[in-house]
């Protein structure tokens, strides 16, 4: 008896199947993001030099995003800002994931630990997120460090919730019971049986956290917290552009924001499609 799992593979010629489309989309989006980060790293001081002869130019072939009041090329500024945002987002997501790993595993230790973790999650969710970031960044003395810490310390609750639920479900599994009956310690079970199952969740959770972290970072910078006006952050570019709105320099706001939107969309799409690959039940939509 052979299994009846007939893999239907239409191949490239007859249009891509869902699996191929999904993988292609993920690769393309990842490549896009990677390109932005790498490009931003290679932008040197010279390409951002001020040039008052060509200030406030509308978008053209030479300056696709136009130039600002100091004659700087907005495209280059945007790329650099995006790179910075992605890196801050990455750092913040990693820290937040780390916190959820620790809290998630800690919650599996016992009942008191579990209620403590859920209490902490509720506490963090009880204050509007943006306000919490402001509060924490002030606590850390404001500035870039304050903002980065504020963003990093506030994105773990939702992932921790997912992880807690997952752990609860895993704990009812047969093999966990058997290990317990064999006298393995709780910590042994947590790291040997529970953690491996959670790793895909963490990877997905981190990726899905990215867009939130980036958006919060940009918002908080836009409001004027943190990064100094000389940093090429997207939030700063946009808050600067507000001064020139009534002058009609629309490109200063339009393109950088649109680019940020595309980056966020790219992260969302990667996360969503990775999720589909891991959990095929959702693929029918």
């Amino acid at each position: 008896m052979s299994t009846a799992v007939l893999t239907i593979n239409k191949g490239l010629s007859g249009g891509l199947n869902l699996r191929q489309k999904t993988i292609l989309l993920i690769s393309f989006m990842s490549l896009l993001l990677l390109t932005i980060v790498i490009c931003s790293l290679f932008i040197n001081e010279r390409s951002l030099s001020t040039d008052f002869d060509s200030k406030n130019l509308a978008p053209s072939l030479k300056h696709p995003f136009g130039t600002d009041w100091m004659g700087r090329d907005m495209f280059i500024r945007t790329i650099e800002g995006l790179g910075l945002s992605i890196m801050i987002g990455a750092f913040a997501s990693l820290i937040s994931t780390l916190i959820s790993v620790i809290l998630g595993l800690f919650s599996s230790v016992g009942k008191i630990a579990d209620s403590f973790v859920s209490w902490l999650v509720d506490l963090f969710l009880s204050i509007p997120h943006l306000l919490l970031i402001i509060l924490i960044s002030i606590g850390f003395g404001g500035g870039a460090t304050g903002v980065i810490i504020g963003v990093a310390l506030t994105h773990w609750p939702s992932l921790t919730r997912v992880v807690r639920a997952e752990i609860k479900q895993l704990k009812t599994q047969e093999y966990v019971h058997i290990s317990r009956n064999f006298g393995k310690s709780r910590w042994w079970i947590a790291t040997k049986h529970i953690l491996p199952h959670l790793i895909p969740k963490f990877i997905l959770g981190t990726i899905l956290m990215f867009p939130h972290a980036i958006l919060h970072e940009a918002s908080i910078t836009f409001l004027g917290f943190g990064l100094s006006p000389h940093e090429p952050a997207i939030g700063i570019i946009l808050s600067e552009s507000m001064k020139y709105l009534s002058a009609g320099y629309w490109w200063l706001a339009f393109f950088p924001g649109l680019s940020l939107l595309i980056v966020i969309l790219a992260f969302d799409m990667i996360g969503e499609n990775l999720g589909k690959l891991m959990n095929p039940k959702k693929a029918h939509d």
Binding site: T3, V5, I8, P280
Partner: protein, 325 residues
């Protein structure tokens, strides 16, 4: 000869079958881990005939896809299902459009559990269904009358499904079919969880419907219940029907039964030899080249492993087996 005489003289059998299911197969397109697309076959080469005034029991073990047969007849399969083969209703082809047109009017389903009732709608509104305002009064009266008959008190009308007991739910579900005046009633597992008294009562509802001229298809895993009230029994196994036998064939040692599986099933009953059959049904994802019962059959030969046996009419019943004549 005697058998055939009896069948032809029987009440409704002089006319055509109300519902003919011809060689249908049903499969689902699914995505497995990593988004690989697969096709899972749940029903294959299934034939079935239901006659007015008769109860046809479709007997098979739980979770073997019997409910999907009912859903296929009503045309309410999920969007990732692929249905092959054809059906005929009252002499006309039963296409998806036709199904949508006549379901609820000519064909009624009696579902298996409270999950099939809208959790946020009061019982009476559900049973009445979506009718236009001017008919509402008369149908409401009919509903009250049917409820009265089934011993459902007036306060039940205004209750929500979760407030009802299992037995009450069963009666509510049956009354949806009764007030619909359908000619074909498909009851999906109506017996589980009922005590002896309720079981008898429920089964009597179906007998009533058949006596009024309905064709009733009773889908069940309970062969005892099927033997009590049905006129014919179809044996559902691994997504197909191995045999459709008349109730009279279930007698003595089952020597009138055509398929070795039916005979084995009959002999496994406590009141008979109480002798279980070895092995288990093939899984849905196993590909089987030959007869679905090949692995467990005691009279198999080489031919049986090659291709699904042809459907034969023997002694007024249908069977898929190479070794009967």
């Amino acid at each position: 000869m005697e058998d055939i005489d009896r069948i032809t003289t029987k009440k409704a059998r002089n006319n055509e079958a109300l519902l003919k299911v011809k060689d249908i197969s049903l499969s689902f397109i699914q995505y497995t881990s990593g988004l690989r697309q697969t096709e899972l076959k749940v029903i294959s080469n299934l034939n079935l005939e239901a006659y007015s005034g008769e109860i046809l029991a479709v007997v098979g073990s739980s979770g073997s896809g019997k409910s999907l047969l009912a859903h296929a007849i009503l045309g309410i399969l999920p969007s990732n299902a692929r249905l092959y083969g054809s059906m005929e209703y009252n002499g006309q082809p039963l296409t998806q459009e036709k199904k949508e047109e006549i379901r609820g009017k000519e064909i009624a389903l009696i579902p298996q559990s409270t999950n099939y009732l809208d959790p946020l709608m009061r019982i009476s509104n559900q049973v009445i269904g979506n009718v236009n305002e001017k008919n509402k009064e008369s149908i409401k009266k009919l509903q009250r009358y049917v409820f009265q008959k089934y011993n459902l008190k007036p306060e039940v009308d205004r209750m929500f499904p979760h407030e009802l007991s299992g037995g009450m739910i069963r009666r509510v579900l049956v009354s949806t079919a009764v007030i619909s005046s359908a000619r074909l009633v498909i009851a999906d597992e109506p017996t589980p969880g009922l005590d002896e008294k309720n079981l008898k009562e429920t089964l009597s509802y179906f007998k009533d419907m058949a006596n009024k001229g309905c064709a009733v298809i009773l889908i069940t895993h309970d062969i005892d219940a099927a033997l009590k009230i049905s006129d014919r029994i179809a044996i559902f196994y691994a997504g197909t029907i191995l045999e459709e036998a008349n109730i009279e064939d279930f007698a003595n040692d089952g020597e009138n039964l055509r398929h070795p599986y039916t005979r084995a099933l009959w002999n496994a009953l406590p009141q008979n030899k109480f002798k279980a059959i070895k092995g288990h049904q093939p899984m849905q994802d196993e590909i089987i080249e030959g007869c679905f019962f090949y692995e467990r059959c005691s009279i198999k030969n080489e031919l049986c492993s090659k291709g699904i046996p042809e459907l034969k009419t023997i002694n007024g019943g249908l069977v898929r087996c190479n070794n009967v004549s």
